[in-house]
C-alpha cells in the first residue's frame, strides 16, 4: 500500500504537494524541489504537461522523486494519449513501482505552448478511472482482454467545487467516485463559503465516506497573482476581501502565506476533508513553513 493510502486509511490528515517537472532534462530541478519537501509531505504530485505546456514526462518525474526518497502521485491526462497509450503508461508505471495515480481530463491544448497540435480526448477522466480500476480489480484491459500480473494502484481524481454549473459539481464527484476515485484532490480553495456548501452536499450524499478528499490550496506571492486567479482562471473563485487584504499588505509574500495557513486551518475543521494538497508551483520552498505553521509537521511515520 502506498504511503499516501496508508496515511489516509489510518485517519491521519494527509499532506501532498504539487511538483511541476522542468521544460528540459535537468533532473536537478525536480531533485531540488523534492529535497525541500522531504519530510513535510506524504507524497508529491508530478504533473502531466500541466496547462498543456511541454515538460519532462510525469512518469520520469515520479521516478526522480522516488530517487529523492519521496513517494509520487503520477498525474495522467487524457489530452495527449488515447486508451492504448494510457493503459500502456499505467502498466509501465505500476511495473516501476508507482502506486498513486491521479486521472485528469487535462487542459485544452489551445491554452498551452503548442496550440497548433491535435488533441486526443479519446477518454475523459471518469472513463480513464473506470478503465484503471478494472485493470486493477478485474485484471482486464478496456477491451475485456486479460492482463498479466497483480496491479497495486491507489486511484484519484480532481474535483472542482467552483466551476459552473455549481449544482452539478457534486454529481460529477459522485460519478468519479463510482468510476473508481479512491481519493480526490480539489481545485485551489480561496472561497471557504462555497467550499463548505459543497462539502455539506458531499456529506449529505455520503460521498465523504466513499473517498478521501484532499482540499487544494495555493499560496500566492503577490496581489497581481491573486488578481490573475480571480479574473483570468476559469474555475477559480477568489473573494474580494482576500484581494483587499493583499492590497493592504506591507509584505505580500508573508500575507500570502498567512492567508494560505488560515485557509488550511479552516479546512481542517470541515468534516469530510481528509488532507490538503498544496500547489505552490514555482514556490515549493514555502511548503515546509506552511506545513509547520498548520501543525502538520512532523509527518506520521510509515507503518
Amino acid at each position: 500500500m502506498s504511503v499516501l493510502e496508508e496515511t489516509l486509511r489510518r485517519g491521519d490528515f494527509a499532506v501532498t504537494a504539487e511538483v511541476g517537472p522542468p521544460k528540459g532534462v535537468n533532473r536537478e530541478a525536480i531533485e531540488k524541489k523534492c529535497d525541500r519537501l522531504r519530510g513535510f509531505v506524504d507524497a508529491v504530485n508530478i504533473t502531466d504537461n500541466q496547462t498543456a505546456i511541454v515538460r519532462l514526462s510525469s512518469l520520469a518525474g515520479c521516478l526522480i522523486a522516488r530517487d529523492c526518497g519521496l513517494e509520487a502521485v503520477m498525474q495522467m491526462v487524457c489530452r495527449d494519449k488515447n486508451r492504448i497509450a494510457l493503459q500502456s503508461d499505467f502498466l509501465g508505471a505500476c511495473a516501476l513501482g508507482v502506486e498513486n495515480f491521479l486521472c485528469l481530463t487535462g487542459d485544452h491544448q489551445s491554452m498551452g505552448n503548442h496550440p497548433q497540435s491535435k488533441n486526443v480526448f479519446d477518454l475523459d477522466s471518469i472513463q480513464l478511472l473506470q478503465i484503471l480500476k478494472n485493470m486493477r480489480e478485474e485484471n482486464i484491459f478496456q477491451n475485456g482482454e486479460p492482463l498479466k500480473g497483480e496491479i497495486k494502484a491507489f486511484l484519484g481524481a480532481g474535483a472542482n467545487p467552483f466551476a459552473d454549473p455549481l449544482e452539478f459539481r457534486v454529481v460529477r464527484l459522485a460519478k468519479k467516485i463510482s468510476a473508481g476515485a479512491q481519493f480526490i484532490q480539489t481545485q485551489a480553495i480561496f472561497d471557504l463559503e462555497i467550499f463548505s456548501r459543497f462539502m455539506e452536499e458531499v456529506r449529505k450524499t455520503g460521498l465523504d465516506k466513499k473517498t478521501f478528499i484532499l482540499a487544494g490550496v495555493i499560496p500566492v506571492k503577490s496581489l497581481a497573482a491573486l488578481r490573475y486567479m480571480q479574473n483570468e482562471v476559469p474555475g477559480l473563485m477568489v473573494p474580494d476581501f482576500l484581494v483587499e487584504r493583499m492590497k493592504q499588505a506591507k509584505d505580500p509574500k508573508e500575507e500570502g502565506v498567512n492567508i494560505c495557513v488560515e485557509i488550511i486551518e479552516q479546512l481542517k475543521k470541515i468534516e469530510g476533508v481528509r488532507g490538503v494538497h498544496i500547489m505552490a508551483i514555482g514556490w515549493e520552498s514555502i511548503v515546509p513553513e506552511i506545513v509547520k505553521r498548520v501543525n502538520l509537521y512532523p509527518r506520521p511515520k510509515r507503518g
Binding site: M111, Q127, R172, P234, G235
Partner: protein, 216 residues
C-alpha cells in the same frame, strides 16, 4: 449543411497565371445558403478577376458534389485554362474527377457542418461521428460542442455559461444541464457514459457506405 468561407483573395490570385482564362464555378446548394460560393459569389469573384486583368466569367451548377451536375458545365470549362471552384471540398474533388485534365483550384475553405444561428453567424453542430447520441443530451452534441468532447459532465473551466477554451462560445455542458433541468430529467446525466467506440468516426479511416438495396 456544410459551411465554408472564401479563401483570402491574395491566396486565390496566386493560383492564377497572367493572361489565363478563368472560370469561377459556383455551387447551388450548401455554400449558396451560407453565402460563400453560390451564383452571386461566383459572379462577384469573376468580375474581380476581370478587374485585375484576367479573362473571367462564372457559371453555377446545382451541386458540385455529384458528377452529373458538373457535366452541365462541360462547355464552359472547355473554354478556360483554369477553374476556381467555389464548392466545398467534396465538390472540388468530384469536379476534379470529372475533368482530370483541367487545372482546378479550391476557392473556399470548408469549415464545418453546422447551421445559421443568426444572420451572418454560423455554428458547428455535428462532427459526423457515425454514432448519434443526441437524445441523451437533450439535442446538444457534447462531442461537437464541448472543446474536449466530454461525455460525463462539464470540465472545471466552465464559467458563466461559456467555454474556457473559446470564451465567445457557449459551454455545451451548461446548455445540456439547463435544458435537462427544465425538463426534470437531470438524472439522465447521473449514469456514467462508457468510453466511446470511435471506429465509426473518421478515426476508423476514410468512411464509406454501401446500400445494397439501392445499388443497380
Amino acid at each position: 449543411m456544410i459551411i465554408a468561407e472564401r479563401k483570402p483573395i491574395k491566396e486565390i490570385f496566386q493560383f492564377l497565371l497572367p493572361g489565363e482564362k478563368v472560370l469561377v464555378l459556383g455551387c447551388g446548394t450548401c455554400v449558396t445558403v451560407c453565402m460563400a460560393g453560390g451564383e452571386k459569389e461566383a459572379r462577384e469573384l469573376a468580375s474581380l478577376f476581370r478587374l485585375k486583368g484576367w479573362k473571367s466569367w462564372d457559371f453555377t451548377v446545382e451541386r458540385q458534389c455529384e458528377a452529373e451536375f458538373n457535366l452541365k458545365a462541360k462547355e464552359e470549362i472547355a473554354k478556360v485554362d483554369t477553374v476556381v471552384s467555389l464548392a466545398c471540398g467534396v465538390g472540388v474533388q468530384t469536379l476534379a474527377d470529372c475533368f482530370p485534365e483541367k487545372k482546378i483550384f479550391p476557392g473556399l475553405n470548408t469549415t464545418f457542418m453546422g447551421m445559421p444561428v443568426e444572420q451572418g453567424l454560423w455554428e458547428e453542430r455535428c462532427w459526423g461521428c457515425g454514432n448519434c447520441i443526441l437524445h441523451l443530451f437533450d439535442y446538444v452534441c457534447p462531442v461537437t460542442r464541448c472543446a474536449k468532447s466530454l461525455l460525463n459532465g462539464p470540465c472545471g473551466g466552465s464559467k458563466d455559461g461559456k467555454c474556457e477554451v473559446t470564451p465567445d462560445r457557449d459551454c455545451a455542458w451548461q446548455l445540456i444541464y439547463d435544458r435537462l433541468r427544465k425538463k426534470n430529467k437531470l438524472e439522465t446525466l447521473f449514469s456514467i457514459q462508457p468510453p466511446r467506440d470511435w471506429s465509426t468516426s473518421r478515426y476508423g479511416g476514410q468512411r464509406k457506405m454501401v446500400r445494397e438495396d439501392v445499388r443497380l
